[in-house]
């Protein structure tokens, strides 16, 4: 590719032009040097001398929850305990894939995930949590072998366009979504982990056949696929679709960002026991290499302390999973949601769900 080949005959312009580009190139070469000097003084970046990331903080946390959200929380932890955290942020599933690739050499000491499925996928890398931690959380919200535990809960809800759908006509069960009435008006996120976990739960409680029939019904009803929950909420909020299946806290976060009064989309919880009312978790596990690390255990315990659980209630609107802490006042109580009868650890059969989603043409 000849990006900048020039007329070879005009030599006067060449030297001038060369001087210009060379100056740019020289500046580009110098930039690293200049910035290396300045970044030494900036707070978070580690210096060139310490390539080992573990040196820059006491505890290395791989966080699938975003910095915007949990960064302030980690700062609180440091303030309370004096333990500094080197947090590595990423997509929960991509971090899990990265840890699987890293294997024993992983610098990670704690894995904080958005989703139970991603935690399940790295169980082999996680150590058993001490009883002092697991006893704080109900059995259904942690791993069978106690390698990870939920920290906060997120309920599946249905978002609806309040301008076009009266509150009393919002479906109470996911089974209503295949009704002709909602043709082309239902949004889902089939590549998203929370949707897939919900389908897995449906398979476990309703059986393979019913679930497949429902998914086929959705496809035949011209269901709209989106990449993420947040995009579904945007679509409902702008009137693109009337209904969308999302996690409850997306609505609260958007409402906090743009103002509750500006929300055209509203949310409704499905009837108790409906597969659509599954409660999934964001959870945490300690990697094998850090099983004896007191800082790692302290961190997990701190996540399940009353103060931190309250912090989640007010900042993320998620359900606290520690017994005795109340959810945000405008949310129905966790035990009334009562989702489908299932333990989260049963959601491990993701491959079966993926195969089914591929079969019906949603993936």
């Amino acid at each position: 590719m000849s990006l900048l080949r020039r007329n070879p005959r005009s030599s006067s312009s060449r030297s001038n032009y060369r001087a210009q580009l060379s100056a740019v190139a020289a500046a580009a070469l110098l930039l690293p040097v200049l910035a290396a000097c300045s970044s030494g003084s900036s707070s978070s970046a580690s210096t060139d001398a310490s390539t080992d990331s573990a040196d820059s903080g006491d505890l290395v946390v791989y966080s699938g929850r975003s910095e915007e959200l949990v960064g302030p929380l980690f700062a609180e932890f440091t303030k309370a305990t004096g333990i500094t955290i080197s947090a590595r942020y990423g997509d929960s599933a991509e971090l899990a894939a990265q840890m699987l690739e890293e294997g024993d050499r992983s610098p990670a000491q704690v894995y904080f995930s958005q989703d139970a499925g991603a935690l399940g996928s790295v169980e082999e890398l996680l150590s058993t949590l001490p009883e002092s931690v697991t006893s704080l959380v109900a059995e259904q919200y942690r791993a069978v072998n106690n390698t990870w535990t939920g920290v906060t809960g997120r309920a599946r809800v249905i978002a609806y366009d309040a301008q076009n759908v009266p509150a009393d006509q919002v479906p109470q069960s996911v089974f209503e979504l295949t009704d002709e009435k909602w043709r082309g008006q239902v949004a889902i996120a089939p590549t998203n982990a929370s949707f897939q976990s919900f389908v897995t739960a449906m398979r476990m409680t309703q059986g393979e056949e019913v679930t497949k029939e429902w998914l086929t019904g959705l496809v035949n009803n011209d269901v709209q696929s989106y990449e993420k929950n947040a995009l579904i909420l945007d679509a409902v909020d702008s009137g693109q679709v009337k209904l969308g299946l999302i996690n409850h806290y997306y609505w609260y976060q958007k409402a906090a960002e743009v103002g509750e009064e500006n929300m055209r989309a509203q949310i409704s919880f499905m009837a108790p026991k409906d597969p659509g009312s599954l409660v999934n978790v964001a959870g945490v596990g300690i990697l094998n290499g850090a099983s004896e690390n007191p800082a790692a255990i302290e961190f997990v315990q701190w996540l399940l302390s009353p103060t931190t659980q309250e912090w989640f209630v007010t900042n993320t609107f998620e359900y606290p999973l520690m017994a005795g802490i109340a959810a945000a006042p405008n949310l129905p109580a966790l035990d009334t949601l009562a989702g489908p009868d299932i333990k989260l650890a049963q959601l491990a059969d993701l491959p079966g769900t993926l195969a089914m989603l591929q079969d019906v043409g949603l993936l």
């Binding site: 020039r6 690293p32 976060q253 993926l354």
Partner: protein, 517 residues
């Protein structure tokens, strides 16, 4: 002007280039390991899945449509800029390279925010064309201007109509440039994830991402990614064929070969201005306006200027470092392939291009795996991240370096050596010096692309090291689009600097060509 086709390259140069190409091919080693882990039956079952081929078809279709659209936009645009006295010509010259500064995911998001219902194949084609057409336009501009007008005049003096004369001479001369640009665009479309995901197209990369994200099945994902590499190899060989068809003659000295900029009639002038205006609105105006609207809508938390500036500084220097490494890796390959045309040298070049079709997540994971198994002390260090950028974007620097080195007669370096210069010093004082602008341009292009890179950055950056792309990602993950807008705008502004420098280069030389004419 070149060494004879059967000339043999100096062994040091050949093996140096081969080593650099192998470094660029590192991700393929990882893919091979993972595909090997998949087992024969699994591979067959993936390949026999109808869905796999459907999505491959969609991706290939998208690449064809986008490349065609880029060519249809670039040819008239380049002709207007090089051959006519277009009003505000200098301004448009600078503007046409700027869309390179806009990451595909930002453009797609901005369009969706403005037109909520927008989605699907054609929407993705529009957005991808808007962000990638300068890859075709820039080389075309250079080619059209360096084309020998003398040939076209000879063709006309022989009775050819102006259009026929153009197509039989200048157009043929421009085919390699257009093909090289098209190759970059096609590979870009095949590997893009951000735009197709946001616009809800069932592209092949989505399937790859799903098998990483949802099933944590790295072997299946590797088989799928391997298919992309095969597609890339096919495209690279197509480009090579097109390059072979170029016109390599020049008219004799008696014929005037200076490009003449023709005046336009008022109507044509107005229409051309409208054309450029439309391009500017679609590629720059709409995304930037949409971001400004989001910015004005306000946000939950006030903008932290120190955080933003920290991200700007980090982005600038890490991408510059990546560009420097990419140029250093590209130079031996470019020197070799520009002077020696043999099967072995073209293999070296193809190898260094093959990674460009891979989505960032595959490159990221492959460097995670390979660095931990070879140089664990470098894992998640600045060095590794900059190196990743160099591996990812080496082909972009390679093309620019090669074509500018091709214009230097090898005899110059040989003369310098007969004067007692060492080979390296001879190269530096001849080829290296003369083609410096092209080499620098390649570096700028790498820097520009590295600034926008996300998936590999997330995996390989030192813990706690934030760039504009990662900060932007962190905010959009949370649906805090208002808070994301300043970062998106800062990223566009920062990436506009190298884009501007690239187009500035054309403008300067253009002005002086006119004066000397």
């Amino acid at each position: 002007m070149r060494n004879k086709d059967n000339a043999k390259a100096p062994p040091l140069l050949f093996w140096g280039a081969a080593l650099c190409a192998c470094i660029a091919a590192i991700p393929l080693v990882y893919l091979a390991i993972r595909i090997g882990g998949a087992g024969f039956n699994e591979i067959i079952s993936i390949l026999s899945r109808l869905r796999t081929w459907e999505t491959v078809g969609i991706s290939v279709g998208l690449a064809i449509v986008v490349v065609t659209a880029c060519l249809l936009i670039s040819y008239p645009t380049a002709l207007l800029l090089t051959r006519t006295q277009l009003p505000l010509r200098r301004f448009w010259f600078t503007t046409v390279a700027l869309p390179l500064a806009i990451p595909s995911y930002v453009a797609a998001y901005a369009w969706v925010a403005l037109i909520p219902g927008m989605n699907g194949f054609w929407a993705a084609a529009l957005v991808l064309t808007a962000v990638s057409f300068p890859y075709v336009l820039l080389p075309l501009l250079v080619s059209l201007r360096s084309a020998d007008m003398g040939l076209e005049q000879v063709a006309r003096s022989l009775g050819g109509k102006p259009t026929a004369a153009f197509f039989s001479t200048t157009f043929r001369h421009s085919i390699p440039a257009a093909a090289a640009g098209s190759l970059l665009v096609a590979l870009y479309v095949l590997s893009d994830f951000g735009a197709v995901a946001l616009l809800r197209v069932d592209a092949f990369t989505r399937v790859i991402y799903t098998s990483y994200r949802a099933s944590f099945d790295r072997n299946t994902a590797a088989v799928l990614a391997g298919m992309l590499v095969i597609l890339a190899v096919i495209l690279i060989s197509l480009e090579r064929k097109a390059r072979g068809r170029s016109l390599k003659f020049r008219a004799d000295k008696g014929v005037s070969s200076i490009t003449v900029a023709r005046p336009l009639t008022p109507v044509l002038s107005a229409l051309s201005s409208l054309w450029f205006f439309a391009i500017a609105v679609i590629t720059l105006g709409i995304p930037i306006t949409s971001l400004l609207i989001r910015l004005a809508e306000g946000t939950l938390r006030a903008l932290d200027w120190a955080e933003l500036m920290n991200a700007v500084v980090n982005t600038a220097w890490i991408s510059a470092l990546g560009a420097v490494i990419a140029v250093l890796l590209a130079l031996p390959i470019a020197t070799l392939t520009s002077q020696f045309h043999r099967k072995s040298t073209s293999t070296i070049e193809s190898i260094s291009y093959s990674g460009l079709a891979l989505p960032g997540i595959v490159i990221g994971l492959s460097l995670v795996y390979l660095s931990l198994n070879t140089v664990p002390f470098l894992y998640q260090s600045f060095v590794l991240l900059a190196f990743a950028y160099a591996v990812l974007f080496l082909p972009k620097s390679l093309g620019a370096s090669r074509s500018s080195l091709e214009t230097v007669p090898p005899a110059l370096g040989q003369v310098a050596q007969t004067l007692g210069y060492s080979p390296l010093r001879a190269w530096l004082s001849t080829s290296g010096r003369i083609s410096l602008p092209g080499i620098a341009a390649g570096g700028l292009l790498v820097m520009l692309t590295a600034m926008k890179e996300l998936p590999a950055t997330l995996m390989l950056r030192p813990t706690g090291f934030d760039t504009l792309a990662t900060e932007l990602w962190s905010r959009t993950e949370l649906a805090a689009f208002g808070a994301a807008a300043p970062y998106a705008l800062a990223l566009i502004l920062l990436a506009a600097i190298p884009s501007f420098a690239l187009s500035r280069g054309f403008l300067t030389s253009e002005k002086e060509t006119m004066v000397s004419a």
